[in-house]
C-alpha cells in the first residue's frame, strides 16, 4: 500500500499478564522485535499493564516520548480496551489512537511452543502497529435519549423488569401477546426449593404492574416493527381486539355461564375446558374477560349474542377492532419466555396415545390448587388418584436426536413434582428416572436429598426406552444403569420432564429487533460472562428463558439486570455512539444498492445513485464494506488499506 502517512510516534506496551502471557510468549523478544518497526519509538514490557503502576507507565511514556499512538499487547480488547483507551486519553491521545494487540486469547493461551508463540505474538503486534498508524482520530457521535422503556413479554421476567424500571421513575410500555400477564409462572403450582405457591408470590407483582402509574400495559398485543437506534427507537405495536372493555368488566362471570362454546383451556394445558368468552385464570391482569374470536360464534349478535345480553355491565363490544400505533422509546427489554419441547416428538413415550402420559406443565396444573382438579391429583383418563407415578427426566434434553443442551431446571422441578405427589398421596409411590442429578443452586442439593431421604422417592438412574399400556396401567421398560437390571415398571401416571425450548416467535422478534439468535433459537447475548443481558444491538436487552434455560430466581435476577442496564441508558442526558461507522466515497459509489440490501440495521439509503450512511444507525458491523464491489464504502479505522497492511505485516 502506497498510502502517505503522517509521521507517527508509536509506543508499544507488552503485558506479561503474570504468567498468562509470559509463560508462553517471550515478552522481551516481542519488545526487541517491535522496536525495529520504523514507526515505533518506544517499547517496553510490564508484569500487569492493567494495574495502576502499569497504567502510570503508559501515561508517563506517552508524555515523555511524545507518542502519537499506542499499542498494548495484552489480553482481548473486550477485556481492557476501554481501560487502556481511557489511560491514553488522559495522557492526551485521541481515544482511537490506542489499539490492543491480543496476544493472550489469540496467542499464549492457545499455544504451547514458546518459540512459535513468540513469533506469532510479534506478528500480531506488528500488524496492530500497522493498523494504529493508519487510525484517524475520531470523536464520538452525540445523541439525545427518549426516556421510556419498551418491554416485550409479560412473564415474570418482563414483570420484574417493568417494575424495576418504572420504580426508577421512567415510563414503561409492557407488551404481552396473551390476554393476561403472568406467563409460565402463573401456570406453576409451587416453586422449588422453598415450595412457595407460585401464584401467591407472582400475583402481587402482577397487581403492582396494573396499578403502577408509570407502566402502560398492552395485552393481546405484539411488536410488529422496530426502527431507529439506541435511545431513539420507534416501535410499532399491533393490539388485537379484546371485545370486552376491561374498565367495565366486573368479573361477575355471567357471560361465561351463557356462552354455548366450550374449548380446551390453553392455560390448563387442555386438561379443562373454557368458554369462548373466558378469563384465563381468576387473578388475570388486566382483570377482565376476553372473547376468543377463533371460537366465538362469529362475534355476531344475529348468530349468538348470549354473552352481551347477559352482561349487565355492558362491557361486551363485538365491534372492537384491531389497533396499530407507534411508540417512541429509548431502551427495549426482550423477555419472551420459553416453550416446552413438544411431546409429540418423542413417540416412544406414547404421548397422544396414552392420555395418562402427561407433560411437566400439565402436571403443574394438575397439582395446582387453582387447577382443573382443584389441587387433587387425579389422572386424566379415569379421574382416579394414581397410586404410583413415574417421573422421567431429560425428555428431549441432553439427547442428540432432540435437544443437545441441558434444560437446567428439570432435575429440580421433577424433585418438586415428586415431593408434591407425596404430599398429596402419602401412601403412593413415586419413581424418578434420571441421567444425572444437576442441583447446582442455593438450597437445591439439600432439596433433592430431602425428597430422596425424607419422602422416600425412588430415584432410578437410567432412561426409559418405551412406554405401553396394559390393563389400565402404564408399563415402563427401562434399565437401571447402577444395578444393570432391566426393569418393567407398572404405574398409574407418567410425567415427562420436557426440555425447555425457545419460542418459535423468537426468530420473528430477532428479525424485527435485528438481534441474533443461537442455533436453538435462544437470543444471543454479547458476552456470556461479562455482558450477559446485552445484545449486539445497542439499547436492546434480553432476560429470562428467551436467552437460554433458567429458573425463576435466575430469571428475576436477569430481569433486574436488564432494568439496571435500561435505567443506565435512560438516565443519560446525552448518549454517544461509536464513530467506527461506514463512510462512502461518492466518487467511487455508483448506487448499486448492494450495501443498502445487506445492511442489517437499515442504516444505508441510496439517494441519487450514491449511498448515504445514517451514522447513528450504523453499528460498524462491516457487512457493507465486504459486500461493496468497488470498495467505495469503508469502515472508519478499519479501512481496506488498514486490513491489507495488517495482513501484509502478518505474512512478512
Amino acid at each position: 500500500m502506497k498510502d502517505k502517512l503522517p509521521k507517527e510516534r508509536v509506543g508499544v506496551f507488552v503485558c506479561h499478564c503474570g504468567r498468562n502471557i509470559a509463560a508462553t510468549v517471550d515478552v522481551k523478544k516481542v519488545v526487541e522485535a517491535i522496536s525495529k518497526h520504523p514507526s515505533v519509538v518506544y517499547a517496553t514490557d510490564y508484569k500487569y499493564m492493567c494495574s495502576e503502576p502499569g497504567q502510570a507507565l503508559i501515561k508517563k511514556a506517552i508524555k515523555e516520548h511524545r507518542l502519537t499512538s499506542v499499542v498494548i499487547a495484552a489480553c482481548t480488547p473486550s477485556m481492557h480496551e476501554e481501560t487502556f483507551r481511557k489511560v491514553s486519553n488522559e495522557a492526551g491521545l485521541n481515544w482511537y489512537k490506542c489499539e490492543i494487540a491480543n496476544i493472550r486469547e489469540q496467542c499464549s493461551w492457545v499455544h504451547s511452543d514458546m518459540e512459535k508463540a513468540t513469533e506469532k505474538a510479534i506478528k500480531i503486534t506488528f500488524s496492530t502497529v500497522e493498523k494504529v498508524i493508519r487510525n484517524a482520530p475520531l470523536e464520538p457521535i452525540k445523541m439525545s435519549v427518549k426516556r421510556k422503556c419498551l418491554i416485550i413479554g409479560g412473564g415474570i421476567a418482563g414483570i420484574q423488569a417493568a417494575l424495576d424500571v418504572a420504580d426508577a421513575g421512567y415510563d414503561v410500555i409492557l407488551v404481552e401477546k396473551l390476554p393476561t400477564i403472568g406467563g409460565r409462572m402463573a401456570q406453576l403450582a409451587e416453586t422449588f426449593p422453598t415450595l412457595d405457591c407460585a401464584q401467591c408470590i407472582l400475583t402481587p407483582k402482577m397487581v403492582a404492574v396494573a396499578r403502577h402509574p408509570n407502566i402502560r400495559l398492552y395485552t393481546l398485543s405484539e411488536v410488529v416493527k422496530i426502527e431507529g437506534f439506541v435511545g431513539n427507537f420507534k416501535v410499532t405495536i399491533r393490539k388485537k381486539p379484546r371485545y370486552v372493555d376491561p374498565e367495565k368488566c366486573i368479573l361477575c362471570g355471567d357471560c361465561e355461564k351463557v356462552c354455548p362454546v366450550s374449548v380446551p383451556s390453553e392455560f390448563d394445558r387442555n386438561l379443562k375446558e373454557r368458554k369462548a368468552i373466558y378469563i384465563p385464570f381468576p387473578q388475570a391482569v388486566p382483570a377482565s374477560y376476553v372473547i376468543d374470536p377463533q371460537t366465538c360464534l362469529g362475534l355476531n349478535p344475529i348468530i349468538c349474542g348470549e354473552c352481551a345480553e347477559a352482561c349487565e355491565a355492558n362491557a361486551i363490544n363485538y365491534d372492537d377492532s384491531e389497533e396499530i400505533f407507534e411508540e417512541e422509546v429509548g431502551a427495549i427489554i426482550i423477555a419472551t419466555g420459553y416453550d416446552i419441547y413438544p411431546k409429540e416428538n418423542i413417540g416412544e413415550y406414547g404421548y397422544g396415545k396414552y392420555i395418562d402420559v402427561i407433560d411437566s406443565l400439565q402436571y403443574e396444573r394438575l397439582v395446582s390448587s387453582t387447577g382443573p382438579t382443584g389441587g387433587e391429583i387425579r389422572r386424566p383418563s379415569d379421574g382416579k388418584i394414581p397410586k404410583s407415578v413415574a417421573f422421567i427426566q431429560c425428555v428431549g434434553s441432553r439427547d442428540v436426536n432432540h435437544l443437545e443442551y441441558c434444560s437446567k431446571i428439570c432435575c429440580m422441578y421433577t424433585a418438586k413434582h415428586a415431593l408434591m405427589y407425596k404430599h398429596l398421596v402419602p401412601d403412593g409411590t413415586a419413581y424418578v428416572f434420571y441421567i444425572d442429578i444437576r442441583a447446582a443452586g442455593k438450597g437445591y442439593e439439600e432439596f433433592i436429598k430431602r425428597v430422596q431421604e425424607e419422602y422416600g422417592v425412588v430415584y432410578i438412574r437410567g432412561r426409559v426406552s418405551r412406554i405401553y399400556e396394559e390393563n389400565g396401567k402404564l408399563i415402563l421398560q427401562a434399565s437401571d444403569t447402577l444395578t444393570g437390571e432391566k426393569l418393567n415398571l407398572s404405574v398409574d401416571l407418567v410425567v415427562l420432564a420436557m426440555g425447555m425450548i425457545a419460542k418459535k416467535g423468537n426468530r420473528d422478534v430477532a428479525n424485527i429487533a435485528k438481534i441474533p439468535v443461537d442455533s436453538w433459537g435462544f437470543f444471543k447475548e454479547v458476552h456470556p460472562k461479562l455482558r450477559p443481558v446485552e445484545t449486539s444491538t445497542n439499547g436492546i436487552f434480553v432476560c429470562g428463558a428467551c436467552q437460554g434455560p433458567k429458573d425463576i430466581s435466575e430469571t428475576v435476577s436477569q430481569a433486574s439486570a436488564t432494568a439496571a442496564k435500561a435505567i443506565e441508558l435512560l438516565s443519560k442526558v446525552e448518549i454517544y455512539h461509536e464513530p467506527i461507522v461506514a463512510e462512502v466515497n461518492p466518487e467511487l459509489c455508483s448506487g448499486c444498492k448492494i450495501c443498502e440490501t445487506v445492511c442489517p440495521f437499515g442504516a444505508i439509503k441510496v439517494v441519487d445513485k450514491i449511498a448515504q450512511v445514517n451514522e447513528i444507525l450504523c453499528e460498524g458491523c462491516g457487512s457493507c464494506t465486504s459486500a461493496c464491489p468497488t470498495e467505495a464504502i469503508q469502515l472508519r479505522n478499519v479501512k481496506d488499506e488498514q486490513i491489507y497492511s495488517m495482513i501484509e505485516a502478518i505474512l512478512r
Partner: protein, 328 residues
C-alpha cells in the same frame, strides 16, 4: 506544430481492439493531422526492426496480453521508446479472456490443443517445437511465457483504456488525452481513461427494487427477463456493479447482463473474489438465518464461477502471485 509519433504494438490479441481504433473513423484521420503512426503491424506491414529504428515515440499503444517472448520483447521496447504507454483493451489492461488460460499450466495447454481435443488427429503425439531447421534456414517460433499476463506486470503503464473492445466513452477520452498532449503538451495523470470513474449502475436505466434479493441464480436462457428491472434482482448475474461505465450500457439496453469487460473502477485485489463477496451477500439475505445451508448450495449452483466473474480479469487477479516468473 510538430507532429507526434504514435506506435501501436500487438500482444496476444484477437484484433478487435485494432478494429475499434479503425472505428474512430474520421477521428483517426484527424489524429493523423497531429501524429505519425510509425508502427502498427496489424494495419500495415511493420516488423519489430522498424520499431527498433524509431528514436523516440510519444504515445505507445499496446494491444493484447503478454503470451510469448516476442510480446515481452515488444512491450519492453515500446516502453523504452515511449513517453506515454497506453494499455488498450482489456487484454492489455487485465489479461483479458486469454488469461483464463492461467487456470492451467503451459504444458497442459499445449497437450490439450495438440493432442487431446476430440477433433485433433495426432496419432504420433507430436508437439510443436520452438525451432526447426529446414535446409539451411532456421525457423523459430517465439517461446510461450509460462503465464498469460496483463501489460502492467511487465512494464509501467500510464493510461488504461479497457473494454472488449474499448467503447466510445473510453476511446473518446483517449482521443482527448492525445489531442491535449499534442496541443498543450499536457502529460495525462496515470490511470483509467474515463471520467467520472463510476460503475455501470451509475448509467444503468433499469429499476432497482428496495432490496436486491437473489432467490436463485438463473442463466439468461432460464428466465423471461424483465427489460426494465435490475438483472441481479431477477437472479441473473450481472457484473454491472463492479464494471466501469465506459460503454453506454449497450449490453444492458439489449437486455443482456454485463459481463464485466471493462473491469473494476478501483485497483481491487481480485475482481472475482470481490464480486462473489458482493453477490453472495444478496442470496436470500432476508432469510439468511433460516437457510444457512441452502444458501451455500445456491451459491454452488453458479456455473463456472471463475469464467463468470473473472472473464476478462483473471490475469490480474490474486492468482497472479504465481506468475512472477515471466520476468525471467
Amino acid at each position: 506544430m510538430k507532429k507526434i509519433k504514435i506506435a501501436v504494438a500487438p500482444g496476444s490479441s484477437c484484433g478487435g481492439c485494432d478494429v475499434a481504433l479503425v472505428n474512430l473513423n474520421e477521428k483517426l484521420l484527424d489524429i493523423t493531422n497531429y501524429a505519425d503512426i510509425v508502427f502498427w503491424p496489424t494495419a500495415l506491414d511493420f516488423k519489430i526492426e522498424d520499431l527498433e529504428q524509431v528514436n523516440e515515440i510519444d504515445i505507445g499503444i499496446f494491444v493484447g496480453a503478454i503470451r510469448h517472448k516476442d510480446h515481452v520483447k515488444l512491450a519492453k521496447l515500446l516502453r523504452e521508446k515511449s513517453k506515454i504507454i497506453v494499455a488498450l483493451g482489456s487484454c492489455a489492461c487485465y489479461g483479458g479472456i486469454f488469461s483464463l488460460a492461467n487456470l492451467f499450466e503451459k504444458k497442459d495447454l499445449l497437450e490439450t490443443v495438440y493432442q487431446k481435443t476430440i477433433t485433433t488427429e495426432n496419432s504420433n503425439g507430436k508437439m510443436p517445437t520452438e525451432s526447426i531447421k529446414m535446409g539451411n534456414i532456421d525457423i523459430s517460433l517465439p517461446k510461450l511465457t509460462n503465464w498469460c499476463l496483463p501489460l502492467k506486470n511487465l512494464i509501467d503503464v500510464d493510461i488504461y483504456a479497457p473494454g472488449c473492445p474499448p467503447g466510445e466513452r473510453v476511446l473518446e477520452k483517449l482521443y482527448n488525452i492525445i489531442i491535449d498532449f499534442v496541443k498543450n503538451g499536457t502529460v495525462p495523470d496515470k490511470g483509467i481513461a474515463l471520467e467520472p470513474l463510476k460503475t455501470l449502475c451509475d448509467i444503468c436505466p433499469r429499476k432497482k427494487p428496495e432490496k436486491i434479493v437473489i432467490r436463485k441464480f438463473k442463466r439468461i436462457h432460464e428466465v423471461k427477463l424483465d427489460p426494465e428491472l435490475c438483472f441481479l434482482a431477477q437472479g441473473v448475474i450481472c457484473l454491472g456493479p463492479i464494471s466501469i461505465a465506459g460503454c453506454d450500457a449497450n449490453c444492458i439496453k439489449a437486455n443482456i447482463p454485463c459481463r464485466g469487460c471493462l473491469g473494476p473502477n478501483q485497483d481491487i485485489h481480485d475482481v472475482a473474489a470481490k464480486f462473489i463477496s458482493a453477490i453472495a451477500s444478496l442470496v436470500q439475505i432476508d432469510k439468511e438465518k433460516e437457510l444457512e445451508e441452502e444458501i451455500v448450495n445456491l451459491i454452488e449452483e453458479i456455473v463456472d464461477p471463475i469464467g463468470t466473474f473473472h472473464r476478462f480479469t483473471f490475469g490480474s487477479g490474486i492468482f497472479n502471485k504465481k506468475q512472477e516468473d515471466v520476468m525471467e
